[in-house]
């Protein structure tokens, strides 16, 4: 919006378009621009970067509507990674394992995708590179059984953290969602004394369908946080603002590349600034 320093309709419209372009969605974008319009007088004749800052503040407020739990809670932890196909769950499982390992945790990986071609091999390769144990079974095994084994092994080997990878599944497949709910029940029964969290992995390139994904997944397995992958691309992942607003689910981590180190903790203000651009 160049160097225009006053809030005419055209400036407000291009502000809204900028937010829509970042995948915040029409409703959230309109709401944000309305909140800026109300304060229009404050910015008349001022410089545009102040307006951008103000907008970033308002985006951050929406994100903080979903309070962030600690990235590394104290005590023993089980993390369940869920999400639709191809978003980055397996790679994120490896990155999360590496991240916790760097923080001194003893990590165990569970190869809970027993369905897709070479899913277990993929996780095994990562585990090997990171020198982390992985619990697996033959292809076609019941994923709940793998998870059960992994939790038993985790307890026996004094692991601090068990990270469970699962098969990609579309949220409109009832049978697959039921399978996931069963995996979660196994975790709750078997890891009774452990802290537990379910992270929904979302692809930053995904549009408004991410809201539908978050809604459905949390309905079946109560999602505690989002791991937003592929933020190193050009997509900004603004749909997470709408998700924070509507479902109060916070983003906890960002995937910023394909390597084991490419995982960072979510910083709402920083993210908001990147969205507003």
């Amino acid at each position: 919006i160049a160097d225009r320093a006053f809030l005419d309709e055209e400036t407000l419209e291009s502000l809204e378009e900028g937010l829509i372009a970042a995948d915040l969605g029409v409703e959230t974008s309109q709401e944000l621009v309305e909140s800026v319009r109300k304060e229009a007088k404050r910015f008349e004749g001022g410089d545009l970067s102040r307006l951008r800052d103000h907008l970033a503040d308002r985006v951050a407020v929406l994100l903080l509507d979903a309070p962030q739990p600690p990235a590394r809670p104290a005590g023993r932890l089980v993390t369940l990674l869920v999400g639709v196909n191809g978003v980055g769950k397996t790679t994120s499982a490896a990155k999360l394992a590496a991240w916790h390992q760097r923080h001194g945790d003893r990590v165990l990986l569970a190869a809970g995708d027993t369905f897709r071609a070479a899913a277990t091999e993929q996780l095994e390769l990562w585990a090997d590179r990171l020198d982390i144990d992985v619990v697996k079974q033959k292809a076609g095994a019941d994923p709940a059984a793998v998870v059960y084994d992994a939790l038993q092994a985790g307890a026996a080997r004094s692991a601090d953290h068990v990270i469970v990878d699962t098969a990609g599944r579309l949220h409109n497949r009832q049978g697959l969602m039921a399978e996931l709910a069963k995996i979660k029940r196994v975790i709750e029964r078997t890891a009774a004394g452990w802290k537990k969290r379910t992270l929904l992995v979302l692809d930053a390139t995904t549009g408004q369908n991410a809201i539908s994904q978050a809604r459905e997944f949390t309905r079946h397995v109560a999602v505690d946080g989002i791991l937003l992958a592929k933020v190193d691309g050009t997509a900004k992942g603004g749909v997470t603002v709408a998700i924070a607003r509507e479902l109060r689910i916070p983003v906890m981590f960002l995937g910023v590349g394909e390597g084991a180190e490419d995982l960072v903790e979510f910083r709402p203000r920083e993210f908001a600034e990147a969205l507003v651009g």
Binding site: I20, A21, N85, G88, A117, E121, D203, N209, G233, T234
Partner: protein, 291 residues
């Protein structure tokens, strides 16, 4: 759906017989909203709505008692017009013909390679799958298993071979061994990764594919114009395959991609199994986008 929303608008604002400029503006806003909610890129929406406006004003549609219905028909026709022809068979000329796949990370290339190979085998061809993703953990193994599942042999890289070396070797070996189609799977890549975009451009030069297909995820949002636009600009694409249409995303990315990549959508992925590939149907896609 959209028709009900437009009925509401026209009922409220139609006045005595003629649809006012105000009603038309309100209707166009509803159309814009519907398309943005469906993830069509906002610039594509802008020019689309402008065209719908032209057509609505230019006709006597707005005077009609069924104005809402007629405007929806204009919108649908315009959508189908942009989405293009129904997909058809793969173009296979060359000995062997090469079908090269490309796309962003996780879009469904490896799975789609298996689907295409199965389709080719069932149509009487001798396909060969080539595992040219040397980057992703267990990518070659994944394609080997996919190939085994559809009864199509898979050629993988030798130790130390680059994707381009492999391409050179494949063209020769495929011919020698009597394969008449080669389906080339490649690593997922970002359109902003210059080195990897160069790599696949070089690969395409060496293989001279008769089909160079961009495999894209149907749930992609506003970014679809950036990625598809870059791939279309930098590479000699011949078509697009849209995957994961068995989900519930509205699929507005189809319109964005078709608008910027300027190549037709040929097939759609509708599941994880080797049979889950359908020929692209623009009418069905238009209805889906409109919700």
């Amino acid at each position: 759906g959209l028709q009900d929303r437009l009925q509401g608008v026209f009922k409220r604002l139609k006045g005595e017989g003629r649809v006012s400029e105000e009603a038309l503006q309100a209707a166009l806003r509803e159309i814009r909203l519907a398309l943005l909610e469906a993830d069509v890129n906002f610039r594509v929406v802008k020019s689309f709505v402008a065209r719908v406006r032209e057509r609505s004003i230019g006709s006597d549609v707005l005077e009609s008692l069924t104005a809402a219905q007629q405007v929806v028909k204009i919108v649908k026709d315009e959508l189908v017009g942009i989405l293009g022809e129904p997909g058809g068979d793969l173009r296979l000329t060359g000995h062997p013909s090469v079908v090269l796949l490309c796309g962003l990370q996780g879009s469904g290339k490896t799975t789609t390679a298996g689907k295409l190979a199965k389709k080719l085998r069932e149509s009487g061809r001798q396909p060969l799958l080539v595992a040219a993703d040397l980057q992703r953990a267990a990518a070659v193994e994944q394609l080997r298993q996919v190939g085994a599942g559809v009864g199509v042999p898979v050629l993988g890289p030798d130790d130390g071979e680059t994707a381009v070396d492999l391409a050179t070797r494949v063209s020769r070996e495929a011919r020698e061994r009597g394969y008449d189609v080669v389906v080339f799977d490649t690593a997922g890549r970002l359109h902003i990764d210059e080195a990897l975009m160069d790599e696949i451009a070089v690969l395409a030069k060496s293989l001279d594919p008769t089909e160079f297909l961009f495999v894209a995820d149907a749930m992609t949002g506003q970014d679809a114009v950036k990625s598809a636009g870059a791939f279309g600009k930098l590479l000699p694409l011949t078509g697009v395959i849209l995957t994961k249409l068995d989900g519930d995303s509205r699929g507005g990315a189809a319109l964005s991609i078709r608008s910027v990549a300027e190549v037709p959508i040929r097939f759609v992925g509708v599941g994880e199994k080797p049979d889950d590939l359908e020929v692209f149907d623009p009418e069905r896609m238009a209805s889906r986008i409109l919700g």
